[in-house]
Amino acid sequence: MSSLRETVNAAELAGQRFYLNVSSRFSGLQGGGRFGRNTGNSLEFVDHREYQPGDDVRHIDWNAMARSDRLSVKLFREEVSPHLDLLIDASRSMQLDDTRKREALYAMTAILRTAAINAGYTVSSWIVKDRCRRVEPASLPIYDWPGNDCDFSGNIGQTLVSFPPLLRPAGVRVLISDLFWNEEPQAVLRQLSNNAALLVIVQLLAEPDILPPLAGNVRILDCESGAAVEVVAEEGLLREYQANFARHQEYWKRSCTRVGAVFTRCVAGSFLQEMVPEELLKNEILMARSR
């Protein structure tokens, strides 16, 4: 627990460097009580710039045109009311032995939550096991969340499809999971992306998930179901594993693209070293705060 606490604290500290992007390209975001970082439809004037085709003609500054014979438009501060729903996979596979996957899970949660708060988001956290349970009060430190131990041995995908959480419409939704379940991604993605401003899938993996440390005669145990198989681990087996894994990952990516979701990947070990969610930054889900 102390390790988790330290990791979460470190992640929250690291999360201060980021903010969750609040952008009009997240088309679902509605006007709200907070200004966004971009220009928008609020009444607060920000700047002028030259007219570009497609600009709202209502924002053309006619006075300026009369003075300079040039078409320019007024830019106003964006006004948003953002909300982030964090869905956290609490199945056993997220607490794989000899890995820091669970720490990485909550570190990622902490960074996202901190970045969201930095960007003015309201945040709801959902722990997904056999049901999706919202963490209340929301301000509760992560390491004190009830049910934060990853001990569910069922199928998270089935829970998300069969017992979907009551997510706020037009909010940003982030699912953090290893996606190791046998459920069609479309069903889950359809459920989560419905009425969402943005859906982000963060596949959190441990190094052994990418390349299992198998050598010689081994008995492979599924940490969720307890199923076992004895194999002689050799190159062929590992090749087969990696091929299956890559196919699975590719399938999720394509499915995300199809529903407009963003698919990112994170490896626990390297992530915990730097506390930098590189792929989220690359996809501009998170933005670095200027000092």
Partner: protein, 587 residues
């Protein structure tokens, strides 16, 4: 079934346990937890079922590896195969002398039999020839018997011979068999020098102190019989001799001996028996080794021959009659004679009657000079030189076997078969001769009568040394002759040939020989110092497998029987390990 020339290599089979240990160690699966088995595809099995079902599966590659190991170890043990006719030839030379039967039931023979049955006959792939080494080597059964057949024939080895001439038996083996045979000699004493090559000397004897009768004889001298008995001490310390001589007439005691004998000392006893028709028994009373303690001397006098003299010559007839009477072997009768002396060329009707024909010349020629003599013939053996005048018929021509001759003139010739009606022709004209007054005359007649008497029905002698053949002349019309023990139990039966039958020597004792209506009693006495001397008997170390190792070198090297399958299995092993499905746990 192969033999292994290097059985120590079989210790290599212990490597199987090492292989099995390595295999089990390698098979001990390490548990690895993964987030999901979904990427391992079809190899998912339920945990419970997998554990229980996978482990008991036949470890095929391990079996192949064990088989390869076993085959290579067996090949390293240098296997030799013996099949079909290629069996190990083993010759058993069995000491058949009486000393092998001493101290029954713990006799050397019993110990040797036990060893033969448990070790020699149990040895695999042998063909056995058994030779009884008595006075003459004698093959028991046939050559190259299977062990079961040899076992059934062993009962005929009874150790009754007065002597075991082992070296004669070995010479017989050397001359009759190949050099690659293994020879096992079973006896009761150590060899004079260590055997070499493929001969093994197995001794089962035990040193014992013994006093024995080593000689016994009886011979006629006028109206009485003279007897001779010799006692010898074969003890290592001075010992007492208590012996007695009995007549069979109600065990009448005629001599006693009670004396001390030094080691190796001999005491001889001579005595006269007036009752020539009674048997004499000599026996030692205080010796526990009993096989040589008794000797029998039966009456030796035969029924006299019946001889007829059909000669008119006043010179010749008394000379013949006197010579016959002097011999003590015959009596002159008028009719139904066994031998006829005549001057006529008569034709014998009785096929067992002999004739001695004098050829008297009407115009004789005086003979002087050297007489040629066949000294090997029973009729002329031992005759003194001719120192007399001899008138002969110079025209006589020989038709039979010439025994005496002078130049071209036959003096004595025989025609016909001695077991039937033999005719002797004597070229002699007494009126001009004085041979009948010389020493040759009675000697010639003794030879003739003794020879004739040999063909009278009955044994050649009445007292035999153990080991000697017992020759019996059969009465006319009798084809078979039987030997009975003292208790009346049949001991042997043989068929006659040319009115003669020969028994091999029975053990010492009294026997009755029965031929048709006639019967005779004989005695067989051991009288063998060599057999009675048990001081040198000993037991040597008996090997577990008496066959020398080089015996097996003759047979086929069959390492390829094991190496070729091992190579094939290696190829299969390589194929399976190279081409099995990835991570297939069933191998």
């Amino acid at each position: 079934m192969p033999f292994f020339m290097s059985p120590a290599a079989l210790w290599g089979l212990l490597t199987i346990s090492v292989l099995a240990a390595i295999y089990l160690f390698r098979r001990q699966a390490r548990d690895v937890k993964v987030s999901s088995l979904m990427f391992f595809g079809r190899r998912q099995t339920p945990a419970e079922g997998g554990r229980k079902l996978t482990m008991p599966q036949t470890p095929f590659i391990l079996l192949i590896e064990i088989a390869i190991l076993v085959l290579l170890v067996l090949a390293a043990a240098n296997p030799r195969a013996i099949t079909g006719e290629k069996l190990i030839p083993v010759i058993l030379i069995l000491d058949d002398s009486l000393s092998m039967g001493v101290n029954e039931p713990d006799s050397p023979r019993t110990a040797a039999l036990r060893y033969i049955e448990s070790v020699v006959l149990a040895a695999p792939s042998t063909r056995i020839t058994m030779i009884k080494a008595g006075n003459q080597p004698e093959v028991i059964g046939r050559h190259d018997m299977m062990p079961s057949e040899a076992a059934s024939m062993l009962a005929t080895w009874r150790c009754h011979a007065s002597d075991a001439d082992l070296f004669k038996a070995l010479r017989y083996v050397t001359e009759s068999f190949n050099a690659d045979v293994s020879v096992l000699v079973f006896t009761d004493h150590q060899p004079e020098k260590s055997p070499e090559g493929r001969m093994q000397w197995l001794s089962f004897g035990k040193s014992l102190s013994n006093v024995a009768i080593t000689a016994a004889s009886r011979y006629a001298l006028g109206g009485v019989d003279r007897c001779f008995v010799e006692f010898t001490s074969f003890a290592s310390d001075p010992c007492r001799l208590e012996a007695e001589i009995l007549l069979s007439d109600q065990n009448r005691l005629i001599e006693t001996i009670d004396t001390m004998l030094e080691p190796g000392e001999t005491r001889r006893l001579r005595f006269v028996v007036k009752d020539t028709g009674l048997a004499v028994q000599a026996r030692i009373k205080n010796d526990p080794v009993s096989f040589d303690n008794i000797a029998w001397l039966l009456p030796i006098r035969r029924a006299p021959l019946t001889v007829a003299v059909d000669i008119d010559s006043k010179l010749l007839r008394p000379a013949i009659t006197r010579a016959i009477e002097a011999s003590g072997l015959a009596k002159v009768t008028g009719s139904s004679s066994q031998l006829l002396f005549t001057t006529r060329q008569a034709v014998s009707i009785d096929d067992s009657r002999w004739q001695f024909i004098f050829t008297i010349a009407s115009q004789p020629a005086a003979f002087s000079g050297t007489v040629s003599l066949d000294k090997g013939h029973p009729l002329t053996a031992g005759l003194p030189p001719v120192r007399a005048a001899w008138a002969v018929d110079p025209a006589l021509r020989a038709e039979g076997q010439i025994l005496m001759s002078a130049g071209n003139v036959p003096l004595l010739e025989v025609q016909g078969k001695p077991e039937q009606n033999l005719t002797a022709i004597f070229n002699y004209t007494p009126e001009y001769s004085d041979l009948h007054k010389s020493a040759l005359w009675p000697a010639l007649f003794y030879n003739l009568l003794a020879w004739r008497q040999q063909f009278s029905p009955g044994p050649a002698a009445f007292n035999f040394r153990s080991g000697a053949e017992i020759s019996v002349a059969l009465p006319p019309e009798v084809e078979r002759v039987e030997m009975l023990s003292e208790e009346g139990r049949p001991v042997a039966e043989v068929a006659g040939w040319r009115r003669q039958a020969v028994f091999s020597s029975p053990p010492p004792g009294l026997y009755e020989i029965r031929a048709g209506a006639a019967s005779w009693q004989i005695a067989v006495n051991l009288c063998s110092a060599k057999e009675s001397d048990l001081r040198t008997a000993a037991t040597n170390g008996l090997p577990e497998l008496p066959l020398p190792a080089e015996t097996m070198l003759n047979f086929a090297d069959v390492r390829w029987w094991f190496i070729v399958p091992a190579l094939l299995l290696l190829i299969l092993h390589q194929f399976l390990t190279m081409h099995r499905r990835p991570a297939d746990a069933s191998f």
